[in-house]
């Protein structure tokens, strides 16, 4: 039974159709990349899945539960964690505190108004583990606002991981990084995904990154899925080439 | 004497000096407080804020009295010391300042609280502070009715008394149909209610009433209501900025040509602020420098020498109030509340407004009621209030502890 299943998911903004009958299934442990030119609806797809935006039509099932239309904080608590295209962190908190607050969100008594030593201890353990996985232990005590851009992107992934999600949505994790920083980040991500067998939905432009990380690829064009399959098959598909390379009608 | 402003810098300098003197003065000797040393009178006044002009008048009135009295050797041979502080019209500041005067500077005599809301906040504390408060400007009828406390006295004309004077005047006037516009404020409701009772009692037609919130800037809806009502006269219970705004806008609508304006208070400051828009206004006055009485003539001359202008309403009222204080202290031979309170009860003095008798039963100063009309007079470049009728004190003062009148 697939972990995440989208069927006929549509999103209209008045006349503009941002998502057009999108069907998509992601198996547990699979790294699925979603690619497409700008404006293809990739970020809207993320927003619909995480509940930031309500779909106009269609069904979304996650781990057997229908989640279309639920508020974003509920979907997140079901085990769907995400990062953002534009880095979103808590600048004045240290890297560890950022991850700790993320981990605390899963705790049953996250809102306890007093004490909380035990809750902090558990959350901090998860945070340290996630930072370790992403190679960020060295900078755990530095304020997030003062980290390098590369480290900030990885910290966002670590925060998502600290929540022990079932599926991880990465929105262009290497966006805005230099070539050298991208390679370093991709190496870390590849090692990390190998080790954790985490199910990932990855939005990415850089085809090298996609082919290094993704098991399967879905291509979006003008809100519709035009191709779906293994990386090599998709690379050869004429419609993809037309949409991507030549025939911009 | 036209609309130019009084030089406030000089006044501030005097206050600055007086204030620094009192702050620097050695800590008051607790033991010998009552019988020797200066007689301290506290004035927590609204010197700034919306009612700043009233507070400033009270200050000038009290300062001149103290200057004249100290020149004559003070009272009972003791010099008078005024403790003047600014409350900015805020009851919280007023209670705190008054408490400081009582507790830190050992002053047991209070006067000159500008707003009724401030007075109502201070009055319940008088017993605890063992202090006497003689009001010189608060018009709220309840202060001498249900909210009366033994240590409170009122030397000034109250709201209901002013309204009563207007109603007595209207009995002989040919105006038949009346409307009323008051501030949505205890004093406003209080006086309009008395006016309504009085007009119905004198078989005249009371068409209706409306209340405007304090701080209203556009009075056109209320002017339209008055015009609509078909009344021949409208009774106004407004003060300060609201009064100035209404009178200016009413004149622009030519309302006075159709409806006679009657008001519960006429004072020079608002006449100066609106100029000719106040011409023809008829109303009761708490004090007018045009009232011919030997003591008033003497007071006006004294005032002209000091401020080279004529005294206004609250300067006259404050002067009279200090005269009551003076007489009370002399009669009691001291300033302790226990002796001063009985001395003040039933005391009678001759003041700038003629005879004033502090009634024993509700501590209200029984005094004449005046009706004035604002007219152009040679020798003055702004209109002045001319006294057109006076009514004896016992007719204009409500029956004991009430706000109603026996007829």
């Amino acid at each position: 039974m697939p972990l995440l299943e989208l069927d006929g998911v549509t999103r209209r903004y008045g006349a503009l159709v941002a998502l057009d009958q999108v069907a998509l299934t992601v198996e547990a442990g699979e790294v699925r990349a979603v690619i497409g030119p700008n404006g293809a609806g990739k970020t809207t797809l993320f927003n619909v899945i995480t509940g930031t935006v309500k779909p106009t039509a269609g069904r979304i099932r996650f781990a057997g539960r229908a989640i279309a239309g639920l508020p974003s904080h509920e979907i997140c608590r079901l085990g769907v964690s995400r990062t953002f295209q534009i880095t979103a962190l808590f600048p004045e908190m240290t890297a560890r505190e950022n991850a700790q607050l993320a981990a605390q969100a899963r705790h049953a008594r996250r809102w306890q108004p007093f004490g909380g030593t035990r809750i902090f201890r558990e959350a901090q353990a998860l945070a340290d583990a996630a930072l370790e996985q992403l190679g960020l232990s060295a900078i755990a005590d530095r304020p997030a606002g003062l980290l390098s851009h590369g480290d900030q992107r990885l910290l966002e992934v670590a925060m998502a991981m600290a929540q022990q999600p079932q599926v991880l949505l990465l929105d262009e994790p290497t966006q805005g990084l230099s070539v050298e920083e991208t390679n370093q980040a991709v190496d870390t991500l590849a090692r990390f995904l190998q080790a954790t067998r985490m199910t990932v939905l990855l939005v990415e432009h850089d085809m090298e990154v996609v082919f290094r990380l993704a098991h399967r690829i879905t291509v979006l064009h003008r809100g519709a899925v035009i191709a779906d399959g293994m990386p090599d098959a998709v690379k050869a598909d004429p419609r993809v080439q037309e949409a991507y390379l030549g025939g911009f009608d | 004497m036209s609309g130019q402003f009084r030089p406030s810098r000089r006044a501030m300098l005097k206050v600055g000096l007086a204030a620094t003197a009192t702050v620097a003065s050695p800590a008051v000797l607790r033991s010998a407080r009552a019988d020797t040393g200066p007689i301290k009178i506290g004035l927590p006044l609204a010197l700034t804020g919306a009612l700043g002009s009233v507070g400033q008048q009270q200050k000038r009135g009290a300062e001149l009295w103290a200057k004249v009295q100290n020149a004559k050797g003070g009272i009972l041979g003791r010099q008078i010391e005024l403790l003047i502080e600014d409350t900015a019209g805020n009851p919280a500041n007023c209670v705190r300042k008054a408490q400081e005067m009582v507790e830190r500077r050992d002053c047991r005599l209070l006067t000159g609280i500008t707003l009724s809301s401030e007075a109502l906040a201070v009055v319940p504390k008088l017993a605890e502070w063992d202090s006497i408060f003689i009001s010189s400007d608060n018009g709220d009828g309840r202060l001498t009715a249900e909210s009366l406390v033994p240590n409170f006295f009122r030397a000034n004309i109250s709201g209901p008394m002013g309204t009563r004077a207007v109603s007595l005047y209207l009995r002989s006037a040919k105006l038949q149909k009346f409307y009323a516009l008051g501030l949505d404020y205890a004093w406003g409701h209080n006086s309009v209610q008395v006016f309504e009772q009085e007009t119905t009692k004198s078989k005249k037609e009371f068409i209706g009433k409306v209340f405007a919130p304090t701080g209203t800037k556009d009075y056109s809806p209320y002017i339209t209501k008055i015009r609509q009502s078909g009344a021949d006269a409208v009774f106004l219970v407004l003060q300060g900025d609201d009064n100035n705004a209404f009178l200016s806008q009413a004149q622009q609508y030519r309302l006075p040509e159709k409806v006679k304006l009657l008001t519960e208070i006429v004072d020079l400051t608002s006449i100066r602020a609106v100029g000719d828009a106040s011409l023809g206004l008829i109303g009761s006055s708490r004090y007018s420098f045009t009232y011919d009485h030997p003591l008033n003539a003497e007071f006006v001359a004294l005032w002209k020498k000091e401020h080279n202008t004529v005294p206004d309403t609250f300067e006259g009222e404050q002067w009279q109030c200090m005269k009551v204080f003076e007489a009370g202290i002399v009669k009691a031979g001291g300033i302790e509340a226990a002796k001063l309170r009985p001395a003040l009860e039933d005391i009678e003095i001759e003041s700038v407004k003629g005879k004033v008798h502090i009634r024993k039963c509700d501590h209200q100063g029984v005094q004449q009621g005046f009706m004035v009309e604002v007219v152009k007079k040679p020798g003055f470049d702004t209109p002045v209030p001319e006294v057109i009728a006076t009514f004896p004190g016992d007719e204009t003062t409500p029956t004991c502890n009430t706000m109603t009148f026996k007829d």
């Binding site: - | 919306a50 400033q56 809806p221 200016s248």
Partner: protein
Amino acid sequence: MSTFGLLLSQFADALSQSALLFFLGVGLTLIFGLMRIVNFAHGALYMLGAFVGYSLAHWSGNYWVALAGAPMLVGLFGVAFEFSILRRLYRRDAHAFLMVTFGLALVVGEAVRLTWGSDALKVAAPPALSGVIFLLDEPFPVYRLFLAATGIVVAVAIWQFLERSRLGLLIRATSQNAEMANALGVDIKLIRSCVFGIGCGLAALGGVLAAPLVTASNGMAATVIIDAFVIVIIGGMGSFLGSLIGALLIGFVQVFGNYYAPDFALAFMYLVMLVVLVVRPGGLLGKEA
């Protein structure tokens, strides 16, 4: 008075009140739109405009000199204040502006009292505007028609200035994205000084025009600041058109409301504000703050 005559004169009243409220609101909105600061001193500048107008009219004997001079002088004062104090606070968070404008309100309020005294001062409308015209058998002050007319003229002038003129374009650009505008070579320091000056000038214009109705008095500042906030919130913080709509809405609600239901006079404005904010939290034309 026929009902139609009544409605006509109330409509004219509402227009004149909306004009006064618009002058207040548009200054506040321009300043907030560009500099994201809520100017607590706006009421004090409105009062300063009335008193400066009084002195100019008294000195020159001519209301028109006051009408032109007061906004100019107060505008210059605004520019000087922005240049000397506000300019050093742009890297700081919003608290700094809150406190500085609160301080400015206290300073201006007291300076007015010290200079002009605590008594209210008469500012007479010019003879030409003191007359009355008859709207269907009811006298209506010419001055209020003049107010309504000035409101429309100034509204169109500001609209054209923002839409058409080069400085207007730069102001709108800096409002949307100050860093980008700066990067494109726009001297945003100058723009901010101009806008703060214009905002203060407009508040003063409101003060001078209101003086013949309410006299120049110390109590003006406190009562008027709430009206300015309400208008700008209803219209949408930072939206010029929003402040126009907010002024019209409140002008009509007050004039008709106070006539037909005087008991609710005090609460009308806040009820309208609550309804608008609950329906559209950013205000009618504001972008989600």
